[in-house]
Amino acid sequence: MKQTRLMMGMPITIEIVDPQATAAVFDEVYDYFAHIDETFSTYKSTSEITAINDGTLVLADASAEMQVVFAMCEETKKETNGYFDIKTPNGKFDPSGLVKGWAIWNAAKLLEKKGLKNFYVDAGGDIQPHGHNADGKKWAVGIKNPFNAIENIKVMYVNTEGVATSGTYIRGLHIYNPRGGNAPVSDIVSLTVIGPNIHDADRFATAAFAMGVDGINFIERLRGYEGYIIDTKGVATMTTGFEKYTIA
């Protein structure tokens, strides 16, 4: 069974291969995402994060999951030399860069707890697979062409690894620096990270993307993570262990 719903401004797709999947299971997972949105959406006036940002709720009095998320954000900030930072320029907190991957991971764990073994949860292109696909094979996950959204430029094969892509299209412009000869300044449009789970893959993808061309080196140095970065010229650079995921 497979379902897609538009939530939190993005398509969330769940496919469950196991025959015991029921409509109620899907509802439960989508209800969890709705709860996450209600709690962590910075533009919902009724959300808990908004109460924190408005100063009407202190973190110490917030829900356990809010405190866990803040602790994880602080940890990620340290691990990424400050590149991951939930403090916005106007002094508010926006943990959504971490919450998305964490929520996908929790949704997958929810399915596991129900005894389901073969499924994936995909929220806006960040994916947590588990087990195998309907053909009994590894899940085949494409990397979207940042220059042509209907095309895939790479296929990765995974069982339980999380796959996250950070990207932007405005960087699909060459910017030439007149002081640096005619060489275009190299910049990146897409960075995909494969990690032990979507939560970790996503938070490191977010931070690594903010590092620009150096992001792939950051991923290269992380044990247990592989990355695939695409620059403005359509040239990809991959970490040394990436290609093992391209074998079906």
Partner: protein, 169 residues
């Protein structure tokens, strides 16, 4: 087709933005669009997403927009003025486009609100170490699902569409 129009408009807007934004400063001068190494000539969806604005290219900088949206001209497709798009859900944060139209053309797009998620380093010209590189090319293999940054661009499209709808003649 609409997407291509938006894409084209965006490229023009971004060039205009860079030229405009750099009147007061120095470094960046010439801008050209990417030629993807893939076969499809469509330059993506031409979308602009938050990663860049959060990435230190100057959110909302160089705007100089005539806020207040005074309507003065009807030369092109759009009325002159400054138009603010909806605050769109990019999940990574709010995203909102502000479009300035002069002489019927988009002269500036800024992002007073853009997703956060890290502070970018300065654009670095250092070469990557000896990691394997390849030119990207379309793959025809079947996939179960696709990883990509979609949500930001959708949010951008949404916000920009709202801003441009207001500017319509």
């Amino acid at each position: 087709m609409k997407k291509y129009i938006i894409a084209g408009v965006l490229v023009v807007a971004f060039v205009a933005y860079l030229v405009f934004a750099n009147k007061g400063s120095t470094p960046v001068a010439v801008v050209s669009t990417t030629t993807p190494t893939t076969t499809d000539p469509a330059p993506a969806t031409g979308t602009v997403s938050g990663g860049t604005t959060s990435g230190g290219t100057g959110t909302g900088s160089g705007s100089g927009s005539t806020s207040g949206g005074t309507t003065t001209g009807t030369i092109g497709q759009y009325k002159d003025g400054t138009y603010t798009g909806s605050v769109a859900d990019a999940f990574y944060g709010k995203l909102q486009a502000v479009v300035t139209i002069k002489g019927g053309l988009i002269t500036n797009v800024t992002f007073p609100q853009a997703p956060s998620g890290g502070n970018s380093s300065e654009v670095s010209a250092f070469a990557l170490p000896a990691l394997k590189q390849e030119a990207i090319a379309a793959q025809s293999a079947n996939v179960n699902t696709v990883s990509g940054a979609t949500q930001d661009s959708q949010a951008f499209n949404e916000s920009l569409a709202v801003a441009l709808a207001q500017a319509k003649n």
